[in-house]
Structure formats: C-alpha cells, structure tokens
Symmetry: C2
Subunit: 192 residues, 2 copies
C-alpha cells in the first residue's frame, strides 16, 4: 500500500517512471527501494484509477518518455494517507534475524567476521548519508532551518537516517567487542 502513495507523492511534479527510479536510488534510498519492473505497472494502474494522468514527451537525450502527473483525486488520496497518521510496526530487519541465530556459526571468528561485515556496510552507508547532508548544507546559511518546505521535510528523513544508522553502527562496534570478549574469556558457553 505504500509504494502507491510514494509514487503519488513524487508525482506532485511531472516525472517519468525512469525519473522516479532515480529518486528511489537517491533521496528515498534511506527508507524505500523499488525496481522499474514494479514502478511501471504501478504507474499504469494508478492512471487507470484516475489518480495520475500521463503524456508522451520527447526527450533531449534519449527515446520518448511517458510523463505522469498527479490528478486532484490522486492528491486527495496522498493527503489522506499522511493525515491518517504514521504507519509503524511493519519493519523487517533481516540482519537481526540472522543475528538471532548467530550461534549457528560455530567458529567464534566467523561470528565476529559477520558482525564486522555489518559494521563495514553501515560505516559506508553513514558516510554516504553524511556526505549528502554536507553537500546539501553548503547551499544554505542557516541549514536546515532556512530550507523551503519542499526540501525541509525530505531533509528530516535524511536526518533520521543518520540518527538510526549511527545508532546501528554503535551497536555493531559494541557487539564486536562483546563477541571478542566472549571468544577470549568463555571458550565454550554452549547450552543447546
């Protein structure tokens, strides 16, 4: 139900499916991903339902584009989705499911290696998010307070990403320490 609403939000200004995909890979990457093969049919369906309208356009740099834009009905549905309040409790964190069963790796070194891979991933992701924020900030004197609405709210999501990813990274480092400690001081604490 949410991809649908995200598409409506992005199409407040006219965009093609291909453009939308670039936004998923850029600013939305922090909290949602979608493939072109999911985006194109979803756009068609929203148009059939009257929430989007489309128009063929020539491109300067490539083949013809199908450009969609939000209708009034679409705008109404978008507003209602947000007005209904925050949707929470639907998160799936696969690496935590793996961590839950980490005892399955019976070599302590393998468990530590698992957690270090995770740390490296999140360290890279945090660097990516912080760099985006610095580039953004450089255009303003009282960032983020002087951002216009159409950048202020997207920036909030980047800021949340930085908070959450930092916290996850802290946990990875703390956990690596605990795993090393466990390897060194309690060589066989199995119970199953």
């Amino acid at each position: 139900m949410s991809l649908r609403n995200i598409l409506l939000g992005l199409l407040r200004s006219p965009r093609s499916g291909y453009d939308v995909k670039k936004e998923f890979d850029g600013s939305l990457r922090n909290f949602w991903k979608a493939e072109l093969s999911q985006i194109y049919p979803a756009l068609q369906k929203l148009e059939r339902e009257g929430l989007l309208s489309s128009e063929q356009q020539d491109s300067d740099v490539g083949p013809k584009r199908v450009v969609y834009e939000l209708t009034d009905d679409g705008h109404e549905e978008l507003k209602q989705w947000i007005a209904a309040g925050p949707v929470v409790g639907t998160e799936r964190i696969t690496f935590l499911a793996q961590t839950y069963f980490l005892a399955e790796l019976d070599d302590p070194a393998a468990r530590i290696a698992f957690m270090k891979k995770l740390r490296d991933y999140y360290a890279g992701f945090l660097a990516f998010l912080k760099e985006r924020e610095q580039d953004w900030a450089s255009d303003y004197s009282d960032f983020p307070n002087d951002l216009p609405d159409d950048e202020f709210y997207p920036h909030l999501t980047l800021d949340c990403g930085i908070h959450r990813v930092s916290a996850t990274l802290d946990w990875c480092n703390k956990t690596i320490g605990r795993l090393e400690n466990r390897r060194d001081h309690e060589p066989s604490a199995k119970s199953s």
Copy 2:
C-alpha cells in the same frame, strides 16, 4: 526468502505453528512479523521440501498440535543463510516516506501532531523493549556476558532494537522542536 530461514531457525527445537506465532509476537517482534495464515502454509512447504519433519501431538490444554522440527537438510540451509553474510539494504520505513511528503498537511499543528504520534509510539516501544531487558537481566549476575549462547545472540537483537528505537525517539523529539520553531518563526516558507 527470510521468513523461510527464520522458521528453520525457530524449529531447531520442536514447535507448532501456533508456538512460532507467539515467538514472532514476542522476541522477534523487534525485527519481523508474520501472520498465522503465512506461517502454516510456509511450514507445510518446508516439510514438502524435506527441511522440516512433523508429528501430531496431543496437548494438555487444547486440541491436537502439529509439531515441526528441523531436519539435517534444514539445518544445513539455515547455516548457509547466515554464513552468506548479513542481508542489508532491504528496509522499508513507511513513516519516513510519509515524513518526506509531510508538507501535504498544510496546517503546522497537524504536522506537529503527526510527529508527536510517532514519538508516542516509539516511547511506548522503547519502554516495552527496556522492560523485557530488565526482566531478562534479573536472572543473571553478569548480564549479558554470562548468558548461554541460546540467549546471548537473541539478546543482541534486543539490544540493537533499544539502540535504534532510542535514536529514532531522539530524532522525533528534535524534529518536534524544529517543527515548533518553524511554526513560530517562519510562518510561510512554502516554495511549491
């Protein structure tokens, strides 16, 4: 692909579908959810594939139960899933998608109310996680280091939840402050 592996992990010791559901609502609630209508067919499929075996058992407190348990093949698949390294980059955070488009609520008070609802949810969730941790800790003298493997790794996931939820809550509070500031000092910073 992950529900499948989580079921294998839980079924290292024998459980019914109903038991499994209770674990999703308890210890796994922090990172995964699943409905009975998804669990039962998934268990049947895993049995057909030879990764689980099942047995009918009488219950002390209700009707007959179908109790599943991991086979050697199932155990192998579980191990490989974890050995392949952490699965990351698949998270979907719906409330951030809504936040991205929060300007759609055109009353500043409604935007603040949205964020306060989110804060209240996360405050409650954090309390729930911390309470679970305290109950857990009370059984040990050097918690969490003296936990046996079958509790140590699950505890790591609870700890990660606490880190991430705390960070999210901090962001909510910071954001509420920013929204109030924006309401008071920049009454019409619209750009679209």
